[in-house]
């Protein structure tokens, strides 16, 4: 026994019952409506069956109807109750009570309608984007509107119950209204008990959906990164396969960015010493198509003096890249308690420091002079044919900052 997805007006209870009992659907529906007259028994039966009967498994076909239209029958049921009471009893009190029951019916209907989890899936299948105002009302992905509607339905039920009790009360005493309030709470609690599991399931689905969206977002980000960087680089490499230098440059840059993506915690080069050095090394790698083997031990905050040290190191890397004629340059930096040190070493051509013209500013100005201005010192060791090593030292604790002394051998 189950509720069918098609041939239904409200939730398919009548159709399901009819199929199970072998009766015409119309007869079952008429029976339910007639039962409404007996203290809304039809409605209660309908609600009970709705709660108990599972829904038919979905076939391949699209659900046939717009979900929101299922609300209309609740209004019809409510009106039916009103008319029945008015016709049968012809009594002012009973008519008012009938109106109240109608309000209860609509309120309960709203709650039931919202809390059936299968409806969430159904509404997700519809393209409601074409009617934004409808989407705003119907969209059940929004938990807030869901709760709002639930509370709205609840208020309707409560008002109805209070009204019924107040109408049937012998006089309009305060205690009658008080009783009404109590009945209202009992009624609401009843609805809540029945609805709670459905609500719980619904929120579970919402949560799962949100987690799924986050995962999907991460996957999309990764896919975008791979597309933008890896695939483009591979395409460039295929097109430039004869230009070895270019291929190496591309591959190196790609390797670096992938490694950063996979392993490195993101640190801002303007804030951290290690990140600043790595960025400088990356720039030199990209510009001069060499490899900078970077090893940084420890890390510290960046300030003006540290930034000057990084700039001097960068200049040393650029010099090595331009003049040494090698593929690999080593960059080693160590953060100690009282001193930062950076070593840039290549095994390239080398040079005589004394032979460098006074007018050349690279070494004297950008490296030695810069370090001195910031209270550090620079040593350059080089010999023709034996490579070059630039050593940069920067004292960091205040008392150890002394005037730097130039060492050049």
């Amino acid at each position: 026994m189950y509720r069918p997805r098609d041939h239904r007006i409200v939730a398919g209870v009548a159709a399901g019952l009819a199929r199970h009992l072998g009766l015409p659907v119309l007869a079952v529906r008429i029976a339910l409506v007639v039962l409404l007259g007996f203290n809304a028994l039809g409605l209660l039966l309908y609600a009970a069956y709705w709660a108990v009967l599972p829904q038919e498994a979905r076939g391949d076909e699209e659900p046939a109807r717009r979900d929101l239209s299922a609300l209309a029958p609740f209004a019809a049921i409510g009106l039916g109750v009103v008319l029945l009471q008015a016709l049968v009893f012809d009594d002012q009190v009973a008519t008012t009570a009938g109106w109240m029951i109608a309000v209860i019916a609509v309120g309960t209907g709203v709650i039931w309608h919202q809390s059936d989890p299968s409806r969430r899936e159904a509404s997700a299948d519809y393209n409601i984007a074409s009617t934004p105002w409808l989407a705003a009302i119907v969209s059940e992905n929004d938990r807030r509107s869901f709760i709002l509607r639930f509370i709205g339905g609840g208020i309707l039920v409560a008002i109805g119950l209070i009204g019924v009790v107040a109408v049937y009360a012998p006089d309009n005493s305060i205690s009658a209204v008080f009783n009404g309030v109590i009945f209202a709470f009992v009624g609401l609690a009843g609805v809540g008990v029945v609805v709670a599991p459905l609500l719980w399931r619904t929120f579970g689905q919402l949560r799962a959906e949100r987690e799924g969206r986050i995962r999907e977002q991460e996957r999309a980000e990764l896919a975008a990164m791979i597309h933008d960087q890896v695939l483009h680089t591979l395409a460039l490499i295929q097109r430039n396969s004869t230009d070895i230098k270019e291929v190496q440059r591309l591959a190196r840059g790609q390797e670096r960015s992938l490694r950063n993506w996979l392993y490195k915690p993101t640190a801002s080069p303007t804030e951290r010493f290690a990140a600043a050095l790595e960025q400088a090394a990356a720039e030199v790698e990209d510009t001069y198509a060499i490899t900078v083997e970077t090893v940084v031990v420890g890390d510290t905050q960046c300030d003006d003096r540290v930034a000057a040290l990084v700039a001097a190191a960068r200049e040393a890397l650029v010099n090595a890249a331009r003049h040494a004629g090698v593929q690999t340059v080593s960059l080693y930096a160590e953060v100690e308690e009282d001193e930062l040190s950076v070593f840039v070493r290549d095994r390239g051509a080398g040079f005589e420091l004394d032979g460098v013209a006074e007018t050349r500013h690279g070494v004297r100005g950008s490296i030695i002079g810069r370090m001195q201005r910031h209270g550090g010192r620079a040593e350059i060791r080089s010999a023709p044919g034996d490579g070059t090593e630039v050593r940069l030292m920067l004292p960091v604790s205040r008392e150890s900052v002394t005037t730097g002394k130039e060492h050049a051998r």
Binding site: R259, L262, Y263, K264, P265, T291, E293, V295, V296, V297, G298, S330, Y332, E334, F343, R345, E389
Partner: protein, 224 residues
């Protein structure tokens, strides 16, 4: 197993090397590069294959990849070291993940080099490992310096093992700066043999150190 009679021919014999890597392209490349210097006696692309074949072939040195689909290099190392302690391992990795590489070193690998290493340097590293020496890439040296820096929050159980001497620290610094052994010896006015001793001592301390936190800490810092 070794008879004194065959000593001379043993010395002249070429080094035997076994490759473990799940990338066939990479194995082929290494085989071609190393072929001139050593004898590549076998390859394996999985942990199970490596364990069974290394046990049968008994090469001098195993070049071991860190990342493999079915368990990684560490499983190979731990299994073989139990049965064949004389086989030496050199980790050859493209990985930047500290926990893998340090895990391999602490499990008993004699060194760690990256896959971007030049063929000559790789051949030299294999030879050095076969001679019982340790091989540190600059990155690994940097990591060890960082890990053994005086850090009050790391419990020191055995001061003998858990600290580096000043000399060892100096040697590591020069390694991290890209110096070769020969250059380190010249810089510090010591013999190459002494440099080798220092490096081997550092490796021993790294492998036997009681710093349980070492690997985890390194992984947190993404140091290697």
């Amino acid at each position: 197993m070794t008879e004194p009679m065959v000593e001379p021919s043993e010395a002249a014999r070429r080094l035997t090397v076994f490759l473990v890597d799940d990338h066939a392209m990479f194995r082929a490349g290494v085989r071609a590069e190393l072929g001139a210097h050593v004898e590549v006696v076998g390859e394996a692309s999985s942990v199970a294959e490596a364990i069974s074949r290394i046990g049968a072939i008994r090469p001098d040195v195993v070049l071991l990849d860190v990342h493999m689909p079915d368990g990684g290099g560490r499983a190979v190392l731990e299994s073989i070291r139990r049965t064949h302690p004389q086989v030496k391992f050199l980790a050859l990795s493209v990985s930047d993940a500290a926990e893998d590489v340090i895990g391999l070193i602490r499990a008993g690998a004699r060194g760690y080099v990256t896959k971007t290493i030049s063929p000559d340097e790789l051949a030299a590293a294999v030879r050095r490992v076969a001679d019982g020496d340790a091989v540190f890439s600059p990155r690994l040296a940097g990591f060890v310096l960082d890990a053994f820096a005086s850090r009050p929050d790391v419990p020191v159980a055995d001061p003998e093992l858990d600290q580096l001497t000043n000399r060892e620290r100096e040697v590591l610094r020069l390694l991290a700066r890209g110096y070769a052994y020969k250059e380190i010896a010249k810089e510090l006015f010591i013999s190459i043999k002494t440099v080798e001793t220092h490096v081997s001592n550092v490796l021993r301390k790294l492998q036997m150190s009681n710093r349980y936190e070492l690997s985890r800490w390194a992984a947190d810092r993404r140091l290697v």
